[in-house]
C-alpha cells in the first residue's frame, strides 16, 4: 500500500466524476457526479493525512468539513433542480441553454 495508489485511485474517481458531470443529461446525475468528485477529494485528503501527517491528522478534519459542506451543497443543488423542474417541467440539461450567445 502506497500513497501513490491512493492518489491515482482518487484521480481516477475524479476523472470519472468529471466525465459524468460533462456528459450526463439528467441534472440529478450531474449532482451525483459532483458527489463523486468530492469523494475523490476526500480520498486525497485522507491519504495525505495518513501518510504525511499521521500526528496532527489535519486532513481528516478537512474531510469532515468537506462531507458536511457536500451534504449542504447537495441539498441546495437538489432544491435548484426542483425549482427549475417546476418551471420547465424537465431535468434534461440539454434544455437549459437559454443563456447562449
Amino acid at each position: 500500500m502506497q500513497l501513490q495508489y491512493f492518489l491515482l485511485l482518487a484521480a481516477a474517481l475524479f476523472c470519472i466524476g468529471v466525465y459524468g458531470l460533462v456528459t450526463s443529461r439528467n441534472a440529478i446525475r450531474v449532482l451525483m457526479s459532483i458527489e463523486l468528485m468530492l469523494n475523490a477529494v476526500n480520498l486525497n485528503l485522507m491519504a495525505f493525512s495518513n501518510y504525511l501527517d499521521p500526528q496532527a491528522i489535519r486532513g481528516q478534519v478537512f474531510t469532515v468539513f468537506v462531507i458536511t459542506i457536500a451534504a449542504a451543497e447537495a441539498a441546495v443543488g437538489l432544491a435548484i433542480v426542483l425549482s427549475i423542474y417546476r418551471n420547465r417541467d424537465t431535468v434534461d440539461m440539454e434544455q437549459f441553454n437559454m443563456l447562449k450567445w
Binding site: V22, T23, S24, F96, N97, L99
Partner: protein, 619 residues
C-alpha cells in the same frame, strides 16, 4: 522724358494688369444695371497707354545698349531668384507689336461683341494675355518665362472657354489646356535639369555658358528635347497641334491675338534658348523635323478644311513650323522676322475672316462665296494679309522667307526645297480660302452681306495696312536684309513658288475651269486632310486611351485592393466575433468541459519539463 520712359519700360505689363483689375467692376454680378461696356473701353485705354509708352521708348532703346534691371523675388538657402528684365530694342519692339495688336483686337472686340454681355470677362482675359506676353518678352530668365507661360496657358483655357455653355467650347478649352500643359511640364523638366548644368536661368548667361559648355551629349540632347517640347505645345506643332484647331471655338477678337502672337510665345522662348538647343545636333534636327512635318501637314490640312477659322488656324501651325525650321537651322534672326511678319499678316487675315463671319453667320466655306463686290474692304484686307504672309515681293513675308532660305542655301539645300513647297502650299491654301469666300457665285448665306461697323472695319484695315507696310517698318528699324547680300536666285525661286501656289489656287477655286466643290481623286486622302490626319482618334487611342485605362485600373486597385485590404481587417474581426460567440453554448456542462480542458492544458504546460524527461526515461 523719353529716356525716362525707356528706363521704365518694365511698367508696360502693369498697364493691362491695371485694366484687368478694373474690369472686375463691370462683371454682371457686380454692376447689375448699366452693362459691361466700360470694361472694354477701360482696357482699350490702358492698352493704348501701354502701346504709347512702348512707341515712345522704342526710338531711345534703338540707339543705346540694352538696359538690364533686376527685381528681387525670393532668396532662400542657396537659391537666389531675382527677376531679370532686359529693355532692349527687341523687347520693346515686341511689346509694341503685342500692345498694338491687342489694342486693335480690343477695338475689334467692341464691334464684334456688340451683342454679348460678357465684356468684363473677355477684356480682362485679353488684358491678362497682353500683360503676360509683355512680361514674357521683358523677362530675361527661363524660370520666370516658364511661370508666365503657365499663366498664359491658364489664360488660354479661360479665354477659349468664354462661351462655356457650348459643349464644343468646353472640350476645346480642356484640350487646349491639357495639350499646352503637357508641353509646359516637359519644359519644366528641362528648366529644372538645366540649372545644375549651367547654374543660371538667365538667357544671356545661358548663351555664354553654352558657348564653352562641356556637357555629356546624351544629357544635352535630353535637356534640349525637353526644352523643345514646351514650345512644341505652345506653337501647336505636330503632334501637339489639335488644341489650336479646337481653340477656334473661342471668340474672334481673341483669335486675332492668339493666332498672331500668343502661339509665337513658344517660338520666342525657343529663339532665346537657341544657343542651348545648339549644344546638341539631335535637338536641332528634331526641331527641323517637327517644323517640317508641322508645316507640310498644317498646309495640307488647311487646304482640306471647310471651316473658315480652321482653314487659317492650321496655317498658323505651318508658319510656326517654319519658325521651328529656322531655329533648327540656327537662323534666329530669320525666325524673329517670320514671327513678326506672320503676326501682322495673320492678324489681318483673321480680322477679315471675322468680319465675314460676323454678318454671314456661317463659318462653312462651302456656304460662302461671291462677297467680293459687296465686301471690297474685307476682301482687300484678306489679300493684304495673305500677300504679306506668303513670300511675295516686296511684302514682309518675302523678306523673312528670303532671309531664311538664304541662310539655308549654304547648309542644306533640301530644306530650301521644303520651304519652297510649304510656301507654295500656303499660297494655295490662302487663295483657296479667298476664292471660296469672295469669288464665285453668291450662296443663300451670302446674298445680303453688308460691310461691318467702323469698330470692326477700322482695326481690320489698320491691320491690313501694317501687313502691307511690314517692309517699311523693317526698313526703318534697319532690319531689312540688304538686297546686295541676298542671292537673286533664291528670291526668284521664292517668288515663283508663291506665284505657282497662288495661280494654281486661282485656277482651281476662282476661275470656272474646275467644278466646285473640288474633289480629290481619292476620297480617303481628302478625308485624311479634312479630319486633320484623324488626330483626335490618334490621341484617343494612344495617350488618352492609355491614361484612361491606367487610371481605371488604378481606381479599381484602390477601390478593391487597398480599401479591401483594410476592410478585410474589420470584416474578419466582425466575422470572428460572429462565429466565436457560438462558443457560448449556454450549456453549463460545456462550460465545465472548457474549464476541465483548460486545467488539463495548464497542468500539461506546468509539468512539461517533467513530462518530457519522463518520455526520455522511457525511451
Amino acid at each position: 522724358m523719353t529716356q525716362f520712359l525707356a528706363e521704365t519700360a518694365w511698367l508696360i505689363p502693369l498697364y493691362p494688369i491695371f485694366g484687368m483689375l478694373l474690369s472686375i467692376i463691370w462683371f454682371p454680378s457686380i454692376t447689375r444695371r448699366t452693362g459691361p461696356r466700360p470694361a472694354g473701353y477701360v482696357n482699350a485705354i490702358t492698352t493704348f497707354l501701354a502701346f504709347m509708352h512702348g512707341v515712345l521708348a522704342l526710338p531711345v532703346v534703338l540707339h543705346q545698349p540694352p538696359i538690364h534691371l533686376t527685381f528681387p523675388w525670393l532668396e532662400v538657402a542657396g537659391l537666389n531668384l531675382t527677376i531679370p528684365v532686359e529693355i532692349s530694342a527687341l523687347t520693346v519692339g515686341a511689346m509694341v507689336l503685342i500692345t498694338g495688336l491687342n489694342f486693335l483686337a480690343q477695338i475689334y472686340g467692341v464691334g464684334y461683341l456688340e451683342m454679348d454681355w460678357g465684356w468684363a470677362r473677355f477684356y480682362s482675359m485679353l488684358a491678362l494675355f497682353e500683360a503676360g506676353m509683355c512680361a514674357l518678352v521683358l523677362c530675361d530668365s527661363l524660370f520666370f518665362s516658364y511661370i508666365i507661360l503657365e499663366i498664359l496657358t491658364l489664360g488660354t483655357y479661360l479665354l477659349i472657354g468664354f462661351w462655356f455653355n457650348q459643349s464644343l467650347v468646353v472640350t476645346g478649352a480642356r484640350d487646349a489646356f491639357l495639350t499646352k500643359r503637357v508641353g509646359d511640364l516637359f519644359l519644366l523638366m528641362g528648366v529644372l535639369a538645366i540649372f545644375p548644368l549651367a547654374g543660371t536661368w538667365n538667357f544671356n548667361e545661358l548663351a555664354v555658358w553654352a558657348q564653352t559648355a562641356n556637357v555629356d551629349p546624351t544629357i544635352a540632347t535630353l535637356v534640349g528635347l525637353a526644352l523643345l517640347a514646351g514650345p512644341m505645345g505652345k506653337c501647336a506643332q505636330f503632334p501637339l497641334h489639335l488644341w489650336l484647331d479646337e481653340a477656334m471655338e473661342g471668340p474672334f477678337p481673341s483669335t486675332i491675338l492668339r493666332n498672331s502672337v500668343v502661339v509665337a510665345t513658344g517660338a520666342w522662348i525657343m529663339i532665346k534658348l537657341e544657343p542651348v538647343l545648339a549644344l546638341s545636333p539631335v535637338v536641332l534636327n528634331a526641331a527641323i523635323a517637327i517644323g517640317a512635318v508641322s508645316a507640310i501637314g498644317g498646309t495640307l490640312i488647311a487646304i482640306g478644311q471647310i471651316d473658315i477659322k480652321r482653314s487659317f488656324s492650321y496655317l498658323v501651325t505651318a508658319y510656326m513650323g517654319v519658325v521651328f525650321i529656322a531655329i533648327g537651322a540656327q537662323q534666329t534672326e530669320a525666325a524673329l522676322l517670320i514671327v513678326f511678319t506672320h503676326a501682322l499678316g495673320m492678324a489681318a487675315i483673321v480680322a477679315s475672316c471675322g468680319s465675314v463671319v460676323l454678318n454671314n453667320i456661317t463659318q462653312d466655306l462651302t456656304q460662302l462665296g461671291g462677297l467680293w463686290k459687296k465686301r471690297p474692304v474685307t476682301g482687300l484686307s484678306f489679300i493684304a494679309g495673305a500677300t504679306g504672309l506668303v513670300a511675295l515681293p516686296p511684302l514682309g513675308g518675302f523678306w523673312a522667307m528670303l532671309k531664311l532660305v538664304d541662310g539655308l542655301w549654304q547648309t542644306s539645300s533640301w530644306l530650301v526645297g521644303l520651304v519652297l513647297v510649304i510656301n507654295a502650299l500656303a499660297a494655295f491654301s490662302l487663295t483657296r480660302t479667298f476664292g471660296l469666300i469672295f469669288a464665285n457665285k453668291e450662296q443663300p448665306m451670302t446674298v445680303r452681306s453688308p460691310e461691318n461697323l467702323w469698330a470692326i472695319t477700322l482695326p481690320m484695315t489698320i491691320l491690313a495696312g501694317f501687313a502691307i507696310h511690314a517692309p517699311v517698318i523693317l526698313l526703318s528699324l534697319g532690319l531689312l536684309p540688304s538686297w546686295a547680300e541676298m542671292s537673286k536666285d533664291v528670291a526668284l525661286l521664292l517668288t515663283w513658288s508663291s506665284i505657282f501656289g497662288l495661280s494654281i489656287g486661282w485656277v482651281v477655286y476662282i476661275s470656272k475651269y474646275v467644278q466646285k466643290p473640288v474633289r480629290l481623286p481619292s476620297k480617303a486622302l481628302q478625308d485624311l486632310f479634312a479630319y486633320d490626319f484623324y488626330t483626335p482618334k490618334l490621341y484617343k487611342s494612344s495617350v488618352v486611351g492609355s491614361v484612361d485605362i491606367i487610371s481605371r485600373v488604378t481606381d479599381w486597385f484602390d477601390r478593391y485592393f487597398v480599401d479591401g485590404l483594410v476592410n478585410l481587417v474589420g470584416l474578419s474581426s466582425i466575422f470572428g466575433g460572429e462565429t466565436l460567440k457560438y462558443g457560448n453554448s449556454g450549456q453549463t456542462q460545456f462550460y465545465v468541459l472548457t474549464i476541465a480542458f483548460g486545467l488539463v492544458l495548464l497542468a500539461l504546460l506546468a509539468s512539461w519539463s517533467f513530462l518530457s524527461q519522463l518520455t526520455i526515461g522511457i525511451g
